[in-house]
Symmetry: D2
Subunit: 333 residues, 4 copies
């Protein structure tokens, strides 16, 4: 069985998905839509993709297309989702759904009313290590959970121009951690408290953003969670988790670039973890896309839904509110 897909947005992440999709035995990539599609002509043809366009409507209107992969800028997501719902196309959508809760809620309504499948691009759920942790927790091997810690640090801060349109640290970066917290805890967040500083780049203060944060979450099941974020960890992309429960603690570490240990006169050295998120999560990106393909083939529920996207976005919004007001904020489900 072949699923015919169109990819909307062929930037860095779009190209990553295309590279995987074109090798997938059950996928035909018919369309790529991108404002720069003329520049990308050669590359698109090398991938064996049949058609290109600047207008995503061409993709969505094609009756042969079963599903679209949304990798375009965040402010285009909701319109594309609505259109796809109308035309009954399944959707894979990069995070976040949008930058405002009201828009995202509309998108949720459309998707749920239309019955199309929508999988959010929360790639970290597909990391073999975090998935293994989730599996252990789901089997309740640790008993009740007391606390969860997510350490999530980018190797270097993005350009300030990017930051200005990013929705801020919580919406752009921590949103993955909020989703991870919900995924692991299987309980909803009922309160947040966020403390943040612009320590790496104090100029962020002027645009109301931060680069270092400690977020405390309280879950409905009473467990606590702390998320440590920073826009810079010079030793590489740092993504670790630790959870404490009745029966012990589990920590998930980084993987280094290799397993070499150098013992020299001035100390013992190992190489860093990968610097680039695409390298760290290479297999996870492949696995999330395959999960989406399989959900369509077997008509099964997607692994993370638009509602998961909404929940993570809501936590991000409340963190921003907490940061601004200096107060803990309740979340009512």
């Amino acid at each position: 069985m072949k699923i015919t897909v169109g990819v909307i947005g062929a930037g860095r992440i779009g190209q990553l998905h295309i590279d995987y999709l074109r090798k997938h035995p059950n996928v035909r990539i018919k369309w790529v839509s991108d404002l720069n599609c003329d520049k990308l002509k050669d590359w698109i043809e090398e991938q064996g993709i049949e058609k290109r366009t600047k207008n995503h409507q061409d993709v969505i209107n094609d009756p042969e297309v079963d599903a679209i992969i949304i990798c375009s800028p965040t402010d285009t997501h909701v319109d594309i989702i609505k259109l796809a719902c109308e035309k009954g196309k399944h959707i894979f959508c990069e995070k976040p759904i949008s930058l405002t809760l009201s828009e995202s809620k509309e998108a949720v309504k459309c998707v749920e009313a239309s019955g199309v499948k929508l999988q959010m691009g929360f790639n970290r759920r597909f990391d073999r290590n975090f998935a293994a942790l989730q599996n252990v927790l789901a089997k309740r091997e640790l008993g009740e959970i007391q606390s969860l810690r997510i350490t999530s640090r980018d190797p270097e801060p993005p350009p300030i121009e990017y930051v200005k349109h990013s929705g801020g640290l919580f919406m752009d970066m921590s949103i993955h951690d909020f989703d991870m917290a919900r995924y692991l805890m299987q309980s909803e967040v009922v309160e947040v408290y966020a403390k943040g500083q612009a320590l790496v780049n104090p100029a962020l203060k002027e645009i109301g953003d931060i680069d270092t944060a400690i977020v405390t979450l309280v879950f409905e099941n009473q467990a606590l969670c702390v998320i440590e974020n920073c826009r810079r960890s010079v030793y590489g992309y740092d993504q670790r988790i630790e959870v404490l429960g009745d029966n012990g603690a589990i920590s998930v570490g980084n993987e280094n670039l290799n397993t070499l240990t150098y013992a020299k006169a001035d100390g013992i050295k190992q190489d860093n973890p990968p610097f680039f998120f695409l390298e760290r999560y290479q297999q996870a990106y492949a696995d999330e896309m395959n999960a989406f393909i399989q959900a369509m083939i077997h008509d099964e529920a997607v692994a993370c839904s638009i509602r998961d996207g909404l929940k993570a976005q809501e936590i991000a919004e409340k963190c921003k509110e907490s940061l601004v007001t200096g107060l803990p904020i309740k979340i009512h489900s």
Copy 2:
């Protein structure tokens, strides 16, 4: 040169200090004072200690005594400190100074007016690993610090009877972490936010205490700190620290009971860290006491002063206030 000391309180921690002091080439233990000193008669004599009493005044009034080691219950500390100041005796005092800030401030005044040395029993500062971290930070090898994380978990909760008189989680347990945070950051705490739950033993709620906490500290230098506490970690006494700065991150782990790694069909195993804090910090207790002895011999400043004790206690109080009010609390220096 010999320092003549008297030990006040010969419970678990008093006996630990005695065991070290009696082997110290520059120390003569002349007195032990303890309400149970009759029961301890044989043990005290085996240690080669000359005199025992139920009344700590006997110790403090002895003109031969240079210094006292206070290991008696917290509510006796301030009176003993005052008396020792009057008599010009140097003081080693287990934490906390007292359970109320006003009393502790009085003690600070007495000590500073009298000119006697007082070293607080913040043993963790003398742990070779944490001391090595402090050394690296003091040399500013990491550059500016963005965030600090202290994970501090007791292996099993104390009896509820103990908890009732302990001053609560922050005063009894986290106070060590508050001191460690100040010691490492070399900056004062200006704001705290504490979130806590009674998850291990819900009965603690009834006495207004908690067993699981996430504390966020903000330092004067703007760096952030998170402290993770739990009264139970079934895998042993868990004391780890991680700090992130301009030039990287440093983490300090636990030491396991041994260096064996067992690879078996069902996984790779290592033995746990020690379960008991006296075992984990055995060398640190010896080193802190030796530091006190050396400070007296060489007439130097002590490594951690009564003012350090006051600061840690103040943070603990503010955390309690934050827990009760649900709000972040400022600390004015």
Copy 3:
């Protein structure tokens, strides 16, 4: 540019190579030859391979074929190599070349006379970790090398029927380690001493084989090497290397199935390394095949030649001789 290949032998390892080759943008798999090709008909067609045959001559005689991939039983290798040389086809050949030195030497002559490229299937050279080690050593970061240790253990012994035709432990299993030793040391072996026992399965003694061995190699540059082999390590496929030199030591460890560390009351656990060599070396197999493809496209020397295959085989033969005679054996280059 497209290289047209034919795969000879579609057993486990042949299928592995096919799976990679069919996704390679510069490869067209035209032929599969296998005695069981009828049974494999469906699978071969799913791979998009055009033609199948029971006779490898059909493949080699096809003028369109640029290269053959030899994955058939060892006793067929030399004949196939000779034929391919006659027809000017490039060759990728699984190890060992043959089970007798004289035959292998003939094959070397043919290949070198014909000028075709032949790459031996020493996949471990392409493991990112071992390759990183080789890179460090080649740059002489460790200075002169004193000793090298290779630990190489299979998770479970093969069936005794397989062992009977395997050429014995040294030819079948250690041959990879002999190649690795030469690859890392960049010096030739001048003496071997092998001690072995049948400890896992004493029945091996009856067929003159062993399952546990300690091999000592002396290199022309005087450095020493020890290889530890065992046919069974119940905790998984165990492949580690350590090298000691003037400036320190480097060790290369296994990678576990995931990065989880479970701390429980009865100890700290991690999951094992992969049990199956195809899983451990999955990426290395892809990388060695790509290296072969690139060597053809760019007309460059292959990464490991038939002469490398001959050298490793020679060491294996001498080890067998050492085992039988109980004496160290010299190797004259």
Copy 4:
């Protein structure tokens, strides 16, 4: 109960033992004998030791003395042992017994005829990590053992003047590893093969010694053992063991100077293991001496006997023979 001891030889290791003995509640150090005892006068008095002499006979002849601690040069051991046996004094003796098997055998006879206790200074048996390994093996948790590996490297080569009188690498350095192998395997060595090179300091060749060795041992129970020795590991004193058995493998690693892990832009660093053997085995030295004291107090067998010393010495001799002849050498029990 007090044991009265005399220490013969107050060099580095003698002083180490004195430092421990003087704190032991059951020990009175009455004598120190050393050719340099006049120079050491102040130090000896500070330790509270009553008497000093240049003549070890003064110590042994003193009827108050229960036991002697032999820390004098190797060539004095046998005479001192014989005299102590005559006078019925218990003996703690540093390794090796002597440099010739015939002398050592005489010493064994004397000791066994006299009934005095003699404990050999195989301190590594008392390392908590190796002792834990021995305990696991003694309980047969690994099932049958296939192979054992001992990695034992000194941080830097001793002066060549020392080496000249050391008995050579096997007698001076590897002897500890031979004892460890027997201790762990609980089986006797029946064959040795030793390969060695002078790679760190080629000048050793001229005095017939080596600095890098690979030794293969075969045990009576058929298990194999490899010992890797080098006189130089610039990263510190390196003492590791790994054992493979039916149920898995256990490895015992080094302990680093601290538990800090520095993640920086150029890699992840840890501090080295201690450089100095006295630091690495500090606690083991204390524990071996306490074991000797306890064996006397409770009239129990010592933990490692003079016969253990003889066995290790015999293996060292056979290794030397193997090195010289280039052949494996059998050992008949």
